[in-house]
Symmetry: C2
Subunit: 243 residues, 2 copies
DNA sequence: CACTTATACTTCTATATAGAACCATAACTG
DNA sequence: CAGTTATGGTTCTATATAGAAGTATAAGTG
C-alpha cells in the first residue's frame, strides 16, 4: 500500500487524479492501455472506492481516460489529426470522411521566427525544423500547411527519409521522437489568398482562405508543434454548440 | 415525501435529473433561481445524499445548473446572446466586450421559406415573422442579420412597437412570449459579400464575410428562432480547443 | 466439437454516515 | 453603533458497504 504524493491541503481525489495523469505524461500509461482497476487503486492507496471513482471522473472529464463498463478504464487515444478536415468535410463516395493524402514540399533546419518561439515556449532564435506540406483530396489540393518543430527533440525526424513519413505526422512524432500529442489549441481567421497560396490551392489570388493556427500540446501541456493551415474558404463549414 | 416518476428501469439519479430538468422546462424554476438544496431533495424523495448529488452532477454537466459552495445550486443564466460578437471581438476602450447597438430595418409576416421550416420543425408554409436587423458598434455597422420566428407563438412580439425592442431579443422572447432560449447550434461558413450585404456593412462587394447560421433552442430542445448573421471576415477570430 | 453455464473480473448504482469548507445572517460585545 | 462571534444553512470531501450490470474467459455438458 502506497501513500499519495502531493500537497496535503488539496483533496485526496485530486491528488490521485494528478498521480494518474502524471503516469500518462511520463508514458508509463500509453493511449489504449488499461488503467489500474478501481478496486486495485482503492487497495493500493488504502482509499474508499468512491474516492477512487471520483478521481477517475476528473480524468474522464478531461478526456484523458475513457471508461467501459465491464471492460475497464483506458487511456483515451487522441485522434484529432483529422479534425481540421472534419471542418472541410472532404468525404469519399461512401460518405465517410477521408484523411487527405499529403506531400511534404520542403523540410529544412533554420532558426525559428519570433512568434513560433513564443508559441513553442523556447528562447528566441532556437533552431527548428521548418516544413511546407500540401494536403490533397482526390488529386486536388485542399490545404497548405507551414509546420515548425523545435529541432533538438525532433532531430531524428529531421533525418528521416521523406518516403517513411505518412499522411499523419503525430504518430511519427510519438514513435520516432517520443513526443505524444494529447490536445491542441486552434485559432481561426480568414484572409485573402496570397499569390503563393493561390498557386498551391489552385484558386484566384485574393479569394478568401481559412487560416487555422494550431499549437499541439502534450499531456503535460507543453507545446510540441506549431502549424498554420490554409484552405479555400468556399467549402469550409464549422459547427458548434453554445449555451 | 414524494415518489420519483419515470421508468423504473432507468437509474434513480437519472430520473431525478429528468424531474429537475423538467421543472426548468416548464418554468417552475427560472434562470437565476436557486434549486432545492441537496438535503431538501434527499428528504423529499427519500434518497441518499450521494444519489441526489449525482443527479445534480448530471445537470451541472449539461449546463442547466451551476453550483456555489455555501450558497446553493442555481439555474444557470444562458447569456450567450453576445457570444457571436465575442468571435468578432468588438471591445470598448476599457477592454470589455460591448453589446452592439441594433436597428431593426424590417419586420413582416409572411410564409417561412422551406429551409427555415425544416430548422424550426414546422410544416411547410407556416406563417412566420421575418426580420432584418443591423448591428452597429460605435456607429459603424458590424453584423447584418436575417431572423425568422414562427408567427403563432410570437404574435405578441409581431405587434410590439419597434421602440420597445432593445438590443437583445432573447429577453423579449422570454418576457413577452414565454419562450426561453437555453442554447443554440451554430454553423459557420464564408462567402463573398453580395451587393446588398456590402452596402449594409460598408465593404466592397465580393469581400469575404463570415456567415453564421444559428438555431436557438429551449431547455426542451425545441427550436425557437432561426437566424443568419453576416459580418466582415477581416476582423474575425475564433479560438477553440480540440482533443 | 459446439453450446451452455459458471466464474471472476470490471464498472456502475445506491445507501448510510460523518465531518470539512464555505457563506449569509443573527446575536452578542465592547 | 461598529466589530466580532455564534449559528444554521449550503455544497464538498471521504469513508464503508452492498449489490446490480456488463464483459471475458474458463469449465462443464450434450
Amino acid at each position: 500500500m502506497h501513500a499519495l504524493a502531493g500537497d496535503e491541503r488539496i483533496p485526496i481525489y485530486q491528488r490521485l487524479a494528478d498521480t494518474l495523469r502524471q503516469s500518462v505524461i511520463t508514458g508509463a500509461l500509453k493511449p489504449g492501455d488499461r488503467a489500474p482497476s478501481e478496486n486495485f487503486l482503492s487497495d493500493e492507496y488504502g482509499l474508499a472506492p468512491g474516492t477512487v471513482r471520483k478521481a477517475l471522473d476528473v480524468l474522464v472529464g478531461e478526456g484523458v481516460f475513457e471508461r467501459f463498463q465491464g471492460k475497464g478504464t483506458f487511456v483515451r487515444r487522441p485522434s484529432f489529426d483529422a479534425s481540421l478536415f472534419r471542418f472541410f468535410r472532404f468525404r469519399g463516395p461512401d460518405g465517410e470522411f477521408r484523411v487527405p493524402e499529403s506531400r511534404i514540399l520542403r523540410r529544412e533546419i533554420e532558426p525559428m521566427p519570433g512568434h513560433v518561439c513564443v508559441a513553442l515556449e523556447v528562447s528566441k532564435g532556437t533552431p527548428g525544423i521548418s516544413m511546407s506540406r500540401l494536403r490533397m483530396h482526390e488529386g486536388t489540393p485542399v490545404v497548405a500547411e507551414e509546420i515548425w518543430l523545435e529541432h533538438a527533440p525532433f532531430a531524428k525526424f529531421a533525418d528521416m527519409p521523406a518516403e517513411e513519413i505518412g499522411a499523419l505526422l503525430y504518430p511519427v512524432y510519438d514513435r520516432e521522437c517520443g513526443r505524444l500529442v494529447a490536445r491542441a489549441e486552434e485559432t481561426m481567421t480568414v484572409e485573402a489568398a496570397s499569390r503563393e497560396i493561390a498557386r498551391l490551392l489552385r484558386i484566384d489570388a485574393g479569394a478568401p482562405v481559412i487560416v487555422i493556427d494550431r499549437i499541439a500540446k502534450g499531456y503535460d501541456n507543453k507545446p510540441i508543434e506549431w502549424r498554420r493551415s490554409r484552405g479555400r474558404a468556399d467549402q469550409f463549414t464549422y459547427q458548434t454548440e453554445i449555451r
